[in-house]
């Protein structure tokens, strides 16, 4: 009886339409967010904040983006990495060439540019579906990366092609440093966290509003969606745009707050697949799942690689990596078979169990 939903009566539609309708859920999430903002920076050391939390949050943003497109709107995409790259390169351009703008604006501008690119590559989705569309998004993946690495304008004609990100304050000259190696890890973490929390909230809101329902309608049955007045092209493109915006912001944050430079290798097709796994394992069509999936996929190899050390075994690095591949493969299949709705559903099931505990019947 730890977790209760019975005995909660809503007296207005407003209450019933709320985000977290069960008080325990609400308090839990509020507590968690508070902990993420206050507790985590106090508890976590540089490794945990800088090398784990920051990339996990950034990848979770990208996973939310892909989840909007694939989980909600049903359009399979393998071009996530390229949309992230679009955000990163454009944010870099804005940050360096329009230096009077504060860095959060540059990052959002990167997202905006990525959204435009997303719309462009979303146009084929009107005519082609399913795997054909997936392959078409690969065109975006390869073409865009080629473009960014071959047009020197994107890197300000940098000789090496891998421009470093300068140390930026939150608002031009004011506020703490939030990017670059000089910035404190707490500042970078909180900066990323703010993005992640607001984007997650926005995604949840969109999912429960008109736009979210029209995405799901297109996903579940596009013909039926049309007869109730949903414009397929408009809806699909809005999914592409918003999805790419999320990915673009994630790509920019990756460059600005994590690896400190704009490196094409970070946005290769492997990244696209990694994020796809995150939403499969986290749960398609679930914002919570995007976070769970990102944490799981990112931490799995790191945990596996350290596991022998904790157990005091001496296993060579290559064997561990091969094992990691195998475990990853098996886990993907396992999840698809046992719980196609991913970790998010497992969490729900766990809650249901808790509701009955300790009296199962």
């Amino acid at each position: 009886m730890i977790y209760r939903e019975a005995g909660e009566f809503k007296t207005s539609y407003a209450a019933d339409q709320g985000l977290l309708t069960i008080p325990m859920d609400r308090w839990f999430v509020i507590g968690l967010v508070l902990f993420a903002f206050i507790g985590m920076p106090l508890v976590g050391d540089e490794y945990w904040l800088g090398s784990i939390m920051i990339p996990v949050l950034i990848l979770a943003i990208a996973a939310m983006g892909l989840n909007i497109l694939t989980g909600y709107a049903g359009q399979l995409s393998l071009g996530t990495g390229a949309f992230m790259a679009a955000g990163a390169y454009m944010a870099y351009k804005v940050a360096t060439n329009l230096s009077f703008l504060p860095v959060p604006v540059a990052i959002l501008a990167g997202g905006g540019f990525s959204a435009m690119i997303g719309v462009l590559f979303g146009i084929p989705s009107l005519r082609i579906k399913g795997f054909y569309l997936a392959v078409a998004t690969l065109a975006a993946q390869f073409f865009l990366l080629w473009l960014f690495t071959h047009v020197d304008w994107f890197v300000n004609y940098n000789l090496s092609g891998v421009p470093a990100i300068a140390d930026y304050h939150l608002f031009v000259d004011w506020g703490p440093l939030v990017t670059g190696a000089q910035a404190s890890v707490e500042a970078r973490y909180l900066f990323v966290l703010v993005f992640a929390v607001f984007l997650a909230l926005a995604a949840r809101n969109m999912a429960r509003c008109k736009i979210g329902r029209s995405w799901m309608a297109i996903r579940d049955m596009d013909i039926a969606a049309e007869i109730i007045g949903i414009r397929p092209l408009h809806t699909k493109l809005s999914a592409f745009a918003i999805s790419s915006f999320y990915c673009g912001v994630a790509g920019a944050l990756w460059a600005f707050c994590f690896i400190n430079n704009v490196e094409p290798g970070a946005y290769e097709i492997e990244r696209s697949f990694q994020i796809l796994f995150m939403i499969i394992i986290g749960g398609l069509g679930s914002i919570l799942g995007s976070f769970l999936g990102a944490a799981f996929i990112f931490l799995l190899p790191i945990t596996l690689s350290q596991l022998p050390g904790w157990l005091g075994l001496d296993v060579p690095a290559d064997v561990i990596t091969h094992l990691e591949f195998m475990v990853m493969g098996v886990l993907i299949i396992f999840f698809l078979i046992v719980e196609p709705h991913g970790l998010a559903r497992l969490w729900q099931i766990a809650k249901e169990k808790l509701r009955r505990w300790p009296f199962p019947y």
Partner: protein, 433 residues
């Protein structure tokens, strides 16, 4: 989000315990390796050689002045984010980093500087890091890509009979279409203008490294006098194979030092005879130190990996890299005392490193490691030079003496790029006087 984080915290406690276990009176050497993935064929011998030399020092000499080395590998798979994670996990008490990856190097340059840990990207990474006034903690001796490009052109000129003979010659430049492969292009532009040769660029897409047919068709058509290659991973072997397919004169095909591994030529076997590649260290197992290695490490069954890589080009490179690190630690101990050195102290050791032929002979490294002198200003070594090695069907043989780089061409470029970097990042270059 919920459960992920709770798990994180639980695991966090466990991990902190482990990472501090590396304390003790040992010089901690984190080694970022890639024994898996598309570049593993290069990563494995590099990692083996690096680890073996430290173990040799521990076994044979009992460490440096009693300070033993503790090598701990962290697998990156050549991926930048994994490299950053490995770095953050291991950086406490770390002596030095050398990730064998240009991508990871770029990601870590600022971080190591902030953390005051030296970084030796030996023959890769950011060329302009050779300017020690801007890049205080980054070293790239004994040579850089830009210097290597000039030295290879110098070698071609030597073969032709003088730099004036380069005029009107046509060179093909085939490279991995990646920041690494693009590094020497500015230098090549300058050299082409200076000596009056033309060169054609042939980028190889990283995702289709094994698809070079169209490139070699073009080479067959344009018939360049020489082809220079800047390759890595599967690209190298494919290029050599395609070159043999079109019956290109292998003695006119010169790889850089990352296209110099055995894996580059083995798939083509005898047909690749005559293929040349640059190197900045010796090849084979002739150096006296290999006797010690056999006695103290191999015979005791302590060799890294399966021990099959000893003497391979990339193994020797990892080996040489470790030798530099050991000597830098020794140098630092001269000044700071015989104990475990901190990152800052090792940096001092690196900046004052002076490996003469005599010293190398004492170490049994003659012919394997080039004499090197590093200063505060100059982090690429004072006399960058390469040798050219030739494939004989089953192994490489060095066929030239040291060919010096044209530092008068590259140094201004390096200083210019470093200054641009300093301006962008708001760094005030330190004074070295």
């Amino acid at each position: 989000m919920k459960f992920g984080k709770l798990g994180l915290l639980a695991a966090s406690a466990a991990m902190t315990v482990v990472s501090t276990a590396a304390l003790a009176a040992e010089q901690y050497i984190p080694s970022l390796v890639y024994r898996t993935g598309p570049y593993a064929s290069g990563g494995v011998p590099l990692a083996d050689g690096y680890a073996d030399y430290f173990h040799l020092i521990n076994e044979r000499d009992g460490g440096v002045n009693g300070v033993k080395f503790k090598v701990e590998e962290c697998e990156t798979g050549y991926k930048t984010d994994r490299g950053v994670e490995c770095y953050d996990r291991t950086k406490e008490n770390a002596t030095i980093y050398n990730p064998w990856s240009t991508g990871i190097t770029y990601a870590l340059i600022d971080k190591v500087t902030a953390d005051k840990i030296p970084f030796l990207s030996m023959g890769y990474g950011r060329t302009s890091a050779a300017d020690g006034r801007v890049f205080e903690y980054i070293f790239n001796f004994p040579s850089t890509y830009w210097n290597q490009a000039t030295a290879i052109v110098q070698y071609i000129a030597n073969e032709l009979g003088g730099t004036d003979q380069l005029k009107g010659k046509r060179i093909g430049y085939i490279y991995l279409d990646h920041p690494y492969g693009k590094e020497p292009i500015p230098t090549m532009d300058i050299l082409a203008e200076k000596f009056g040769f033309t060169y054609d660029k042939y980028p190889v897409a990283p995702k289709s490294m094994t698809e070079q047919k169209s490139i070699w068709l073009q080479i067959r058509k344009t018939k360049p006098d020489y082809v220079i290659m800047w390759g890595w991973g599967a690209m190298n072997a494919t290029a050599v194979k395609e070159a043999t397919n079109i019956r290109f004169d292998m003695s006119k095909f010169i790889g850089n030092w990352w296209s110099a591994g055995e894996d580059t030529a083995i798939p083509s076997g005898d047909k690749a005879k005559g293929y040349r590649a640059a190197t900045f260290h010796g090849v084979g197992k002739d150096a006296p130190v290999f006797g010690d290695l056999q006695q103290h490490i191999v015979d005791k069954g302590m060799a890294s990996g399966d021990g099959s890589k000893i003497g391979l080009v990339l193994y020797n490179r990892g080996f040489a890299n470790a030798a530099y690190v050991v000597e830098a630690v020794r140098k630092a101990q001269e000044k700071f005392g015989n104990r475990v050195m901190t990152g800052e102290e090792v940096r001092w050791g690196l900046e004052n490193l002076d490996l003469t032929e005599e010293r190398l002979a004492e170490l049994g490294l003659t012919g394997l490691v080039p004499p090197t002198k590093v200063t505060c200003e100059n982090h690429e070594g004072l006399s960058p030079a390469i040798k050219i090695q030739e494939w004989n069907g089953s192994g490489y043989e060095v066929i030239t003496d040291w060919i010096p780089a044209m530092t008068q061409v590259t140094r201004p470029l390096i200083e210019q790029d470093a200054a641009a970097y300093a301006a962008e990042k708001g760094i005030t270059p330190r004074s070295c006087n």
